[in-house]
Structures are given as structure tokens and as C-alpha cells.
């Protein structure tokens, strides 16, 4: 049994999103403010802390509608028939969560309460959790009453409640009037039919899914210890964590085993010893107490001391946990001196252990949960928000798979010897992250990309769409196999970027950031992911770019070839072609050199299945009065900075200039030859050293690059 998907509606910018869960691990990625954290927060609210919902959690576009409902009620209080309609209207604006669970026929008795009828034969079952008004007439009446009190003054001063939203925002009002209701959902079969809802007890879902959360946010639920602020809080002492774990799960005083008896015996001996000694020590003070009149006559009990020693107490002091460096040495480091990174790691580990062992009802936790007969929930859903905080890169890279195996490390869940997962209980781990290290070793099919969309006709506010990477990477086509390998080798930050730049080679990779810093200030505070891929392979990223919908700039080489398909200096009139697959297959889908160099500037930008794309390549430049074509970044750069003394210092280039001025020897050819003779890496590094040498040294980016970067800057600027 497992959760297959969630459909969330009307929660902040997640107006209508579908999140498909992987059987085991799902990772939420996306640029800042794309809604990843809201998603985790929504699941926490719906599944664990229903009263957490605040009015401002409702999607912005619905606030006005709610206010309007209030206004309509103010002008004319609804009749009882209309009341029902108003309740429906309100319900449509409030958040809801649909959960799809897939189960086998053999699990029928476990899912019995969520079966819509006896016709089910295994497969998907759906439950809806919706927020609704408990008593809509009471809500309206109270609102109107509150309004009437201040209505006289409204014209002069803004008094609470301004409108129905305002009314619901105050104090506990929202949870007072609006509560969760659970339904068994049968999705509509025909397009015009409606979904069928059958009421469901709220504990039915709790018996099926156990939810645990580690969150960065504070005060997310009553059950969270308000002191427990987060892994990097100094208050989160490790000894407290260990103590809680011991207390709830390990404590042998409740279910002692053979091995514990010896220690428990010693414990009792110690207690006895202490008790006797203490009573001896207190003999005199107690005598004096007698003199003062207690216990006197009348049968009052005498006072005695009984020492109690337990394992839990042993962990009380903050000095009870310490770190030892060398097992032969006696030197220790107190707890707070351990680096934050490791503190966080230990914290996370112990919380995962706690989650797992409580779920499997290990030791004492079996009783604490309530009754011994409680069935273990078939599904364990664990939500982790940004585990990368304070974890360094190497730990991050293995975190996801290690966290999952920790959650499965129990004889009921995973066979110890064969390491094969047992199917009776399912663990589903859901992580949101900002870190490319975390996703570095993950199968991309587990990623869910949160895409930011602008308002459109159907959704009137900026909202999020979740792109499911398993659609691309579950059974990837050849092109995507390349993408998968390439991304792992380079950087996975494409999933967190505001914009992507593809460059041909190392030279561009070294110098483009310089150009951006010098000339395109609008880009410096944007998160740009730069990927180095040759033009022969860039188009393999087409599907991924389209799916992510991120603004993409490709800066590639025109790669001119002659009729023998041999690389050559670019020249008009001899039917040269381009050998660059990206230009041929992706955009502008042209092959003849002349078509490419004559392309209008506006032709470089396009929309590729909804993704904004610009493909830049070498265009004709005017140098010393003549049109010059270039073929690669290097010669284009030289041409753009032809008069610069840095280049003119080089003998060959000076020669080329002289040849051109005297004989009209085409610069394209001479520079082509020059570049052919270069050691590519050296060229770029030398330029970089030049720029670093003196702050006055500058290099102008070639025009084709300038145009591309300008386009990118415009796309990423906030719309006014």
C-alpha cells in the first residue's frame, strides 16, 4: 500500500497542484519562493495539525471572493435555501487536499473504511480533506453582529472587522468556524458529472498513514515542543534528544530483558545504599523535626528518604553527553563544542530513529501510543524540510539514501541479511531542498520541480505548477540518458536556478561571468546556472528545458564547414553550412551559413514549448570598415577587441591586421588559422590574468554575446 499522489488546492500559491509521490523517495526542488516549503507546510497542516490553518494560507485570489461573500451577506441575510449555496460557495474557496492511495486486494481489510463500495478490486482509493464552515449561519450571524457594532463609524475610521476575511483572521476565529472534514472521494466518470463524496471519520486516515515531520519552521503544531526550535538552535541539546529517545523507547525499567536484570539489580542495590546513607545523614535534622512537633501524636507518618536512581536521570545533565577523540585517552570535548554540521547530523539521525521506532512500536513506545492493540499504520510518511542546513557537501550527497535506509532499518521493514525491503509496511520520504549536493546522487525520476507561473486567464495570481521529472527520467530516451549523466558530472543546480546559460567550452565558462559582472548588473543578483556543453549535444537538453520552463540562453558556435564537411573559415557565397546540431535541430533550425548569419536579431529568441529561449552564435561584425565573420568565441572575442593593445601585442594578430590593411586578406581566415593554432585552455586563462592584473583592463564581449545577455537580463527583470 502506498500514497500515489496528492492534489492540493487553494493553499497559498499552490492554487491547483498535483504532487505525484515516488514509492520511496521524492525530492521537491525549484527556485526560491516557488512553493516547496508551502507544500510541506500544507501537508503538515492537513495531515497532522488541522488547526494550524490561517486565513492568509488561503490563496490570495480567493480573499476577494470571501470578502464578497461577506458583503453579500451584509446587504441581505441569506434564506435557509440560500445558506446551503453560500456554504458551497465558501467551500470552493477554501483549501482542500485529495489523497490517492494505491492498495492491493489483500489489504482490503485495512482500507475497508475508505472503500467507496464493495465493487473495488484493488487499485486506487481517494480521500478528500476539505476545510468547511462548521455552521455557516452562525458564522454569518456572528460576523454581521460584529459588523453592526462598528457600522456606524465605518466611514470615519477603519475598524475591525473590515470584511469577512478580516473577521476570520482574528485570534482563533478561523479554527472556530472552519474545520476539516474528511470524505471518501469517487472521481467523476463523465466530464459533466461531479465527484461523489461520502463522509468519512477523521481517524480512518490516521490509521493508514503515520506522518512525521522535521521542519525548519517554528511552532508548527501543538505536538511540537515549543522549545524545540530547530536543529541549529543552541537549546536543542543532544542530551535532551538522547534522553527522550531513551525514555520513550529504550528504558528497560518497563520491559526488562535478561541483560537488563543485572544492571537493574545493581541499580536497586545502589538505591538501597544511597537511601540508607541519606537516612543516616538526615537522622539529626529529623530528630530536630520531632522536637518541633512533627510527627507528634495522632498517627502521623514519619518522614523518610528514598533515593531513586534511573537511567533517565543519568542523562539529565548537559555534561552527560561528551565526545571522545581517542579511545585510549581521557580527554573529552563537551557537547556544545561539536561543529554545527555534526550537531545537525546527529539531531537528524536521532529524530529519524525516533520516528521509525515509534512507528514500529519498539519497546515502551508501544504503550505510549495508547492501546497495545493498535494496528501499525501501513504507510509511514516522513516530511523533511531542507535537511542540508549546516550539513557539509559530502554528507549532503549521501543524505537522502542514508536517511531512507535508516527509516527502514528494522526487522519488520527490511531483511537484515539480504537487505531486501519487506512489502507489508511502506515508508515514503518527502524532502524539500535548495541544495544541489542533496540531489547529486538521486535518481532524477524522484525530483518534482516547482515551476513559477505568472497569472493567466484561469488562475488570476502568480502560482506554481509541479513538473514531474519521472515523466522524463523514468524510462529516459537516449537524449535524456546523456542529460542525466552530464548533469551528475557537472552541477545539479539547474533545478534551483532563475535562468540557465549553456556555453560551448571552457573559455566561455571562464569569461562569461566576467562579462556579466562588468556589463550586466541586472544579472548579478540572479541565480544563474551555467552548463558547459558542446553545440553537438546542447539540443539534448531541449526536453528538460521545456519541462522546467526556465529562461534559457544558449551561446554556441556557428561551426562553419565546407562542402566536404571540413571545418573552415566562414565565408559567404561558397555554400558553407553549419555543423552545429543545436542550430540545425533546436533553433533556428537552419543549416546554410548565409541563412544563419543573416538571421534578424529578433529571430534568435523564441518560445520552445512554453520555455523562453535565446540561441546566440557568431554574427557578422564590422571591423576596420569591413564585414567580418567569425566562427568561434575566441576569434569573435579578438575581433570585438581588435584594437585592444592586449591582442595587438600578439605577433600573429598584429600580422593579421597588417595583412588585412595591406592586401585585404580576410580577417576571418587569418584569425581562423590563429585560433586553430591556439591551445584553447591557455587563451582563456591568459585573458583572465590580463583582466585580473589591473582593474582598468577590460574586454568587450562580442556582440552576439552582448545581445544574448541583454535578452536574458530583460527576461529576468521584474515586470513593472
Amino acid at each position: 500500500m502506498k500514497i500515489t499522489s496528492f492534489i492540493l488546492k487553494n493553499y497559498r500559491r499552490l492554487v491547483d497542484v498535483t504532487l505525484v509521490l515516488d514509492d520511496k523517495k521524492t525530492v521537491l526542488v525549484g527556485a526560491n519562493n516557488s512553493g516547496k516549503t508551502s507544500c510541506i507546510s500544507a501537508l503538515h497542516t492537513f495531515l497532522k495539525s488541522p488547526d494550524n490553518l490561517k486565513i492568509r494560507d488561503i490563496s490570495k485570489q480567493n480573499w476577494k471572493e470571501i470578502q464578497n461573500l461577506g458583503k453579500k451577506t451584509e446587504s441581505e441575510f441569506p434564506t435557509s435555501e440560500e445558506m446551503h449555496e453560500r456554504a458551497d460557495d465558501l467551500a470552493k474557496l477554501l483549501p482542500s487536499l485529495d489523497i490517492d492511495i494505491t492498495a492491493d486486494v489483500s489489504d482490503a481489510y485495512k482500507v475497508r473504511d475508505i472503500l467507496p463500495d464493495l465493487e473495488w478490486r484493488g487499485g486506487t482509493l481517494s480521500v478528500r480533506i476539505a476545510y468547511e464552515a462548521v455552521d455557516i449561519s452562525k458564522l454569518f450571524r456572528d460576523f454581521i453582529d460584529a459588523k453592526n457594532v462598528v457600522s456606524g463609524h465605518n466611514a470615519k475610521v477603519n475598524l475591525w472587522p473590515k470584511d469577512l476575511c478580516d473577521y476570520l483572521e482574528k485570534g482563533q476565529n478561523l479554527s472556530k468556524y472552519i474545520r476539516q472534514k474528511h470524505y471518501i472521494l469517487s472521481r467523476k466518470q463523465a466530464p459533466n458529472a461531479s465527484d461523489i463524496l461520502q463522509p468519512l471519520k477523521s481517524d480512518a486516515l490516521k490509521k493508514l498513514i503515520r506522518v512525521d515531520v522535521i521542519s525548519e519552521q517554528r511552532g508548527l503544531g501543538a505536538e511540537d515542543n515549543t522549545e524545540q526550535k530547530g536543529p541549529y538552535s543552541e537549546k536543542q541539546r543532544l542530551n535532551k534528544l538522547l534522553r527522550e529517545y531513551y525514555d520513550r523507547i529504550l528504558n528497560p525499567e518497563d520491559f526488562p530483558e535478561e541483560k537488563d536484570l543485572k544492571v537493574l539489580g545493581q541499580q536497586q542495590e545502589l538505591e538501597e545504599g544511597f537511601t540508607n546513607r541519606l537516612n543516616e545523614q538526615f537522622k539529626d535534622p529529623f530528630e530536630e523535626l520531632k522536637n518541633m512537633g512533627y510527627p507528634g501524636i495522632g498517627g502521623n507518618p514519619t518522614v523518610e528518604i528514598a533515593a531513586k536512581i534511573s537511567g533517565t536521570d543519568a542523562l539529565q545533565k548537559s555534561s552527560s553527553v561528551r565526545y571522545r577523540f581517542d579511545k585510549d585517552e581521557e580527554e573529552f570535548l563537551p557537547e556544545s563544542y561539536l561543529g554545527l554540521g555534526y550537531q545537525n547530523l546527529i539531531y537528524l539521525t536521532f529524530r529519524l530513529l525516533e520516528f521509525r521506532d515509534k512507528w514500529m512500536r519498539v519497546g515502551k513506545s508501544a504503550l505510549i501510543e495508547g492501546k497495545l492493540e493498535e494496528m501499525i499504520e501501513p504507510i509511514h510518511l516522513v516530511l523533511l524540510e531542507e535537511p542540508e542546513v549546516n550539513l557539509h557537501a559530502q554528507v549532503q550527497q549521501v543524505f537522502v539514501s542514508k536517511a531512507y535506509s535508516t527509516l527502514r532499518n528494522h526487522p519488520n521493514l527490511c531483511d537484515k541479511s539480504t537487505k531486501i525491503d519487506k512489502p507489508d509496511y511502506q515508508t515514503q520520504l518527502l524532502i524539500s531542498t535548495h541544495s544541489s549536493h542533496i540531489i547529486n546522487n538521486i535518481d532524477f525520476k524522484d525530483l518534482r520541480y516547482f515551476k513559477r507561473n505568472n497569472a493567466n486567464e484561469s488562475i488570476l495570481m502568480d502560482h506554481t505548477f509541479i513538473a514531474n521529472m519521472s515523466e522524463l527520467f523514468s524510462k529516459p530516451k537516449e537524449a535524456l540518458l546523456f542529460v542525466r549523466k552530464h548533469l551528475k558530472l557537472t552541477h545539479c543546480d539547474i533545478f534551483f536556478a532563475d535562468g540557465i546559460i549553456f556555453v560551448e567550452g571552457q573559455a566561455e565558462r571562464l569569461l562569461v561571468p566576467e562579462f556579466i559582472t562588468q556589463n550586466f548588473s541586472g544579472l548579478t543578483n540572479k541565480y544563474i546556472s551555467m552548463l558547459e556543453v558542446s553545440g553537438a549535444h546542447t539540443h539534448k537538453y531541449k526536453e528538460l528545458v521545456e519541462k522546467l520552463g526556465i529562461v534559457t540562453l544558449v551561446m554556441t558556435d556557428i561551426d562553419s564547414v565546407n562542402s566536404d564537411k571540413k571545418s573552415c573559415a566562414p565565408e559567404r557565397g561558397v555554400e558553407q553550412k553549419s555543423n552545429n546540431d543545436t542550430l540545425k535541430k533546436w533553433h533556428p533550425k537552419k543549416e546554410l551559413l548565409e541563412d544563419l548569419v543573416d538571421l534578424a536579431e529578433s529571430g534568435h529568441a523564441t518560445i520552445s514549448e512554453g520555455a523562453l529561449l535565446y540561441i546566440a552564435y557568431q554574427k557578422p561584425m564590422e571591423v576596420l570598415g569591413k564585414e567580418v565573420l567569425s566562427r568561434t568565441f575566441e576569434d569573435a572575442l579578438i575581433l570585438a577587441n581588435f584594437e585592444n593593445e592586449y591582442f595587438q601585442r600578439k605577433a600573429k594578430i598584429k600580422e593579421a591586421k597588417a595583412d588585412f590593411e595591406k592586401n585585404g586578406e580576410p580577417l576571418s581566415k587569418s584569425l581562423y588559422q590563429y585560433v586553430q593554432g591556439l591551445k584553447k585552455g591557455d587563451f582563456a586563462f591568459d585573458c583572465l590574468f590580463y583582466l585580473a592584473d589591473n582593474t582598468n583592463n577590460k574586454l568587450t564581449p562580442p556582440e552576439y554575446m552582448r545581445d544574448g545577455l541583454k535578452w536574458l537580463e530583460t527576461q529576468l527583470s521584474p515586470k513593472v
Partner: protein, 317 residues
């Protein structure tokens, strides 16, 4: 009169002990060995049940509670259920209830299926009644029929929308949504046979089902359990405990034992540990006219006395 009249034969106290041992062999998951234990008055029927439950507890207590599985013990009356609860050691994996409670918990919530069942049944009943009405004369009976016909027609209209059905075991509720005692049993029996999901849920939740006082349990329900046992031969073990003479309510399967399906094992507990020899003997005489089952008294039981009271029908206290 001879002192020896009606003295039953006696046997050793441990006469029936083997039975409990053999019952254990049936009580293995996947054994496919369903059984009927004939146990008359005083034969230690509850004792056998108790032993069986203890055995199952020792085998399955941890697994079952983790997996949410239960051992069902179904009785006929609330009193019987309470008595069993008193006598067996409590354990969360035992689910003791009356047959009505059991059937209701099985069908509760499946409102669509229940509604469809009514929508098939009522028109049929209506048809029968209308035929009778056509042929019948006017009078009290006809008036009653007419009222019923109206009521049934209203019910069909009422069932046009989805409804949420309830059941009150004490039978007090008269709301339209409340199912009658007989309907609860009929619906359960029908679902158990015709809906694979119901069978699936029942056998997975209750790998062992014991039915006490089986001879009094509604015929439809017992038959549906027989069907269930054959459909799910390796997934459930059903044990019936009963005695054909101790009938309290009408509606039981009188021929229990004669119509048991093949493949079922039967056990006979012949001892009467409780009664004196003459009582046992009298019992045997009376039974001789129907199923001829004989009980033995215990070695060392008293001879006992029988007092015979004959009272006219309308005697007041």
C-alpha cells in the same frame, strides 16, 4: 418404580479431552480444516472455546495485533457474549460479539451497496404483495396489505438518493435509515456470497472465526459462512460450536450436522460434567426421538432426582 430408570451411562472425566487436542490441529492458518463441535449442555463447550482461544493467543497475539487482525467469536445473545468475555482472558485480538453486531460491523458504511440491495428486493416484495392484493378480498388483511404497499412505494422513492444507513442493536430506532434485525443478517449473508471484496475483508481481518450456538444462528448466515469456507479454503478457519437441542429462538439451522458441507470435520463432546445421572438419562430419552445424540454422565456423578411438574396453561403465580 425401578431406581435404575433413566440412569445414564458414565464415563471418565477426561473422556472428551482428545477433542481439544485435535481441534488445535485444525487451528493452523491455511489448514483448510473447518470444524463443528457438538457440545450439549454441561459438556464444557465454553471450556473448549477457551482452550482454542488460548492456543491461538499464544501463536498469534503479537502478529495479529500489529497487523490489525482479530479472532472473531460470534454468539447469539448479548448475555452469551458477556459470559464468554467473563470466562476467557481478555486480549485485544479477541473480538467477541453477537451475530447481529458482527454482521453490522461488516456491512456498515457500504451505503451504496445496501441501497442497491433494497432497490432490488423491495420491488420484488412489492410485486408479491400486489399480486396477493389483487386476488384477495377486502377486509382487515387487505387494508394492512394496502398500507404496506404504500409504505414500500414510499421507500423506493426515498431510496432514489444516496442514504446513510444505521442499525440499533437494541432495536429502538424507528428512523427510515435504521435497518431491521433480519435485514442486517440477510444483507450480510448476501454480500458475503456475492461480493468478493466482502469475503476478502472478512477472511483477512478474521483468519479464525468461531460461531457459538451455531444451531440458533440464522440459516442464511450459517450457509454464507459455509460458502465462505469453501471459497476461501486456505485463508480462513471456521469453527462452529453448538447443539441442536438448545434452541432458544426460531430461525436456526435445525439440521445442523446433517447438512454440513463435505470437508468439514465434526467433533462430539459427549460428557455432561454438570448433571446427575438421571438428568442426563432423561435428556437422552428425549433426544432419542430426534437426533439420537447420547450424553454420558461423569464417573461418580450422583444418581439425582427428577421432579415432574404439570401445570394448566392459564395458571397465575
Amino acid at each position: 418404580m425401578s431406581e435404575y430408570l433413566f440412569l445414564a451411562e458414565t464415563k471418565h472425566i477426561e473422556q472428551d479431552d482428545d477433542i481439544d487436542v485435535v481441534i488445535k490441529e485444525c487451528l493452523q492458518i491455511g489448514s483448510g480444516k473447518n470444524f463443528i463441535t457438538f457440545a450439549g449442555a454441561g459438556s464444557g463447550k465454553t471450556y473448549s472455546l477457551k482452550k482454542a482461544l488460548e492456543f491461538l493467543k499464544s501463536q498469534h497475539s503479537d502478529n495479529f495485533s500489529r497487523q490489525g487482525k482479530r479472532i472473531a467469536v460470534v454468539t447469539f445473545t448479548n448475555n452469551a457474549a458477556n459470559e464468554i468475555v467473563d470466562r476467557i482472558e481478555q486480549n485485544p485480538i479477541f473480538s467477541v460479539s453477537t451475530i447481529h453486531s458482527f454482521c453490522w460491523s461488516a456491512i456498515t458504511g457500504f451505503n451504496e451497496d445496501i441501497r442497491k440491495w433494497y432497490l432490488e428486493k423491495i420491488p420484488f416484495d412489492l410485486g408479491e404483495l400486489e399480486k396477493k392484493e389483487e386476488k384477495g378480498r377486502a377486509g382487515k388483511a387487505s387494508d394492512a396489505r394496502k398500507r404496506t404497499i404504500t409504505r414500500l412505494k414510499e421507500k423506493i422513492d426515498w431510496l432514489a438518493e444516496s442514504r446513510s444507513f444505521t442499525y440499533d442493536p437494541s432495536g429502538v430506532s424507528s428512523s427510515k435509515n435504521a435497518l431491521s434485525h433480519t435485514d442486517v443478517l440477510k444483507i450480510f449473508a448476501h454480500f458475503l456470497i456475492t461480493k468478493p471484496m466482502m469475503a476478502e475483508v472478512i477472511v483477512n481481518k478474521f483468519p479464525f472465526i468461531f460461531i457459538d450456538e451455531s444451531q440458533d444462528t440464522d440459516k442464511n448466515v450459517i450457509n454464507s459462512f459455509f460458502e465462505l469456507a469453501s471459497m476461501k479454503v486456505n485463508e480462513v478457519v471456521i469453527g462452529l460450536f453448538g447443539d441442536t437441542m438448545q434452541r432458544i429462538f426460531g430461525g436456526g439451522e435445525a439440521e445442523l450436522g446433517k447438512t454440513k458441507p463435505s470437508g468439514w470435520v465434526s467433533f462430539d463432546k459427549k460428557m455432561n460434567h454438570r448433571s446427575a445421572k438421571r438428568i442426563v438419562g432423561l435428556g437422552n430419552q428425549i433426544r432419542d426421538e430426534s437426533d439420537k445424540r447420547k450424553q454420558y454422565a461423569r464417573n461418580g456423578a450422583k444418581d439425582g432426582h427428577i421432579r415432574y411438574f404439570l401445570l394448566p396453561h392459564n395458571v397465575k403465580k
